[in-house]
Symmetry: C2
Subunit: 368 residues, 2 copies
């Protein structure tokens, strides 16, 4: 049976994700972000609920990306997630993308020329953002064409880089339905953005999200729930430059901006520049919110849930892989667990996220 | 004209304070705590409002105690306040007390025997709290008798120690009205505690507090407004032992207690021991709230307000004393200003506490 890895945020899980899972055959392992997203924001609903939705709709195993994988720029995000999935024995990586191109060719280009490509990046002007630089790199070395805002496509390129030397196949799947950032709700497969915008429209939600009750009946979190903590932290912290990716310039810009900012968008707009993109500033504000210092990654792999079919696969792995199914006296990843305790402060109805939690188990009616 | 210093919190200002000010003749200079109190809690109303109430009711000058004087145990509180008042040229220090005893004699005892007395303190068991130790010290060396809960009396003893070698007279004034901690509202001179308990009873407040509108029409702050910030800080901070007075034992007790505490009283009860009194734990929680590291004191003296009579005195001092009447590009005391910015986060109606604020000026109808 083919074992396929999928890297996801499911923020929230919706019919487009369900479609992707149905398209893929065999055993499907999801490496999913925890409670903070790659674009620098808290998850709309907590990781346990999102895992449950995925497991009820085609996923077989959901493992958690540690904080310092999930809240990272595309390359580190891809690298960290693929490293975990490879430990879990995947043969291929499936992902949705706007442009289905020959990613195997890109892997080969990168396997051959990674040093030159990295060297090329460092020759580019620092007025360009990192995503702009990598686009130029792929244009020059592999003739990839870019058109407008295509974030999944950019992630696909990061997957290609991270897959070099890993012996896994990349399986791009043409994205169906509304575009990534689309707010369009008149579409059969609505985007996560549109869903986050229309949480009060039950008719729309129930047509766009499977097991929509799980989405509707749990607290919906956003930066608004954490902005006062962020402000407190920025005013109070004795040395913001001790936080990951905060240099003197950013520390000073952020300290100044917080005094005049009424909300997160205002703060991000005030701090962002051409060089420091909004997504990067948002990530940095998450680092500040959870007081994240130098990145370290855990050795263990935290299992959020599995189906009966997934369980059979995990049984084969558990002797040789550091699988963690319960966080107790022994920690999994202190940084992720601390971030979770901050996430929990945002709403009194968010349950404990770490200690004593056991995986979501979904019994398949029959094993395929 | 006699210049008298008075050390106060005015939390809030009430008729008992007005009575004390009326009892004293000449020019009255108040050294008042800012927005955090000696017992480890935020001020009920902000320092500017409290200054205004005092200046309208007998005070001539109000200067601010820096954070690391006002939020300190009795000895440091007294020492810091008296140092400031002496710079402002006081000849005597007036204070309310439950027991009027011969404080001049105590000053003389301490001037003669301070080394022996300090040495004696260090021989006492560490199971005793610091206030208990100093009581024993005064019993042994000066025959002072103690009876029950008499916090102003204990402060009086700290004033005596801090006055040694200063050439100022101590003028104890017998406390009138309800006892310090009394919740009794059926008394002509209600205590600050009773007033804090009955803020919604306009009839009571208007009979107990002069210019009661200033008290009623401004935000009333308590630990409740800051508990979520405190919890966030405790969960998030990378090293609580970097905070003033937090040792490994306390850091560990506090980290553990915050997980089960629903409010500040619960947290204090859980952390306090015989050795770490509740007042000390509350102060330490304030240090944590405002991320206070090693104490430093500012050289400047921050003027919160004055009357015409007070202004005449300040004019004589301003060439030789570092008086600060406006905090702008030049800071007064970073620690106090940071604490003020945290205080302000507790309620949207609290105005800016530092930058650009100028002293409250009350015109006396005639100069005495």
């Amino acid at each position: 049976m083919t074992v396929t890895g999928i890297i996801a945020e499911f923020n929230p899980f919706h019919n487009g994700h369900k479609y992707l899972l149905e398209t893929v055959e065999g055993l499907k392992i999801i490496a999913m972000s925890g409670n903070f997203m790659q674009r620098g924001e808290p998850a709309l609903i907590d990781k346990w609920i999102r895992s449950e939705m995925a497991l009820k709709n085609g996923a077989d195993i959901v493992v958690e990306l540690p904080f310092f994988v999930s809240v990272q720029s595309a390359d580190y995000f891809a690298q960290g997630a693929i490293d975990i999935l490879c430990q879990l024995g995947i043969q291929q990586l499936a992902f949705g993308t706007e442009d289905v191109i020959d990613y195997q060719k890109l892997i080969k280009v990168y396997e051959k020329k990674s040093e030159q490509m990295t060297a090329y990046l460092s020759t580019l002007e620092d007025t360009l953002s990192y995503p702009q630089k990598t686009q130029k790199m792929w244009e020059i070395f592999a003739g990839v064409k870019f058109s407008g805002q295509t974030p999944n496509h950019i992630l696909g390129l990061s997957y290609a880089k991270a897959s070099a030397g890993k012996h896994i196949q990349l399986c791009p799947i043409k994205r169906q339905g509304a575009a990534y950032h689309s707010k369009d709700k008149n579409h059969l497969l609505a985007s996560a953005s549109a869903i986050r915008q229309h949480l009060n429209d039950w008719d729309f939600i129930s047509h766009s999200v499977p097991n929509a009750g799980l989405l509707i009946n749990n607290p919906h979190m956003s930066w608004d729930h954490y902005f006062s903590f962020l402000k407190y932290q920025i005013l109070n912290h004795s040395d913001l430059t001790s936080i990951f990716q905060v240099n003197d310039e950013l520390a000073s810009r952020i300290k100044k901006a917080i005094k005049v900012s009424q909300n997160i968008d205002h703060l991000v707009d005030t701090v962002a520049t051409k060089r420091y993109t909004k997504a990067r500033v948002r990530r940095i504000l998450i680092y500040i919110l959870v007081n994240a210092k130098e990145p370290t990654l855990p050795k263990g792999i935290h299992i959020l849930g599995f189906t009966s079919k997934g369980q059979a696969h995990l049984k084969k792995l558990k002797k040789s892989r550091p699988l963690i199914t319960r966080i107790g006296a022994e920690t999994w990843d202190e940084m992720t667990q601390k971030a979770d305790s901050i996430y929990q402060l945002g709403h009194q109805d968010i349950p404990e996220q770490s200690f004593g939690r056991i995986p979501i188990i979904i019994k398949n009616e029959r094993l395929n």
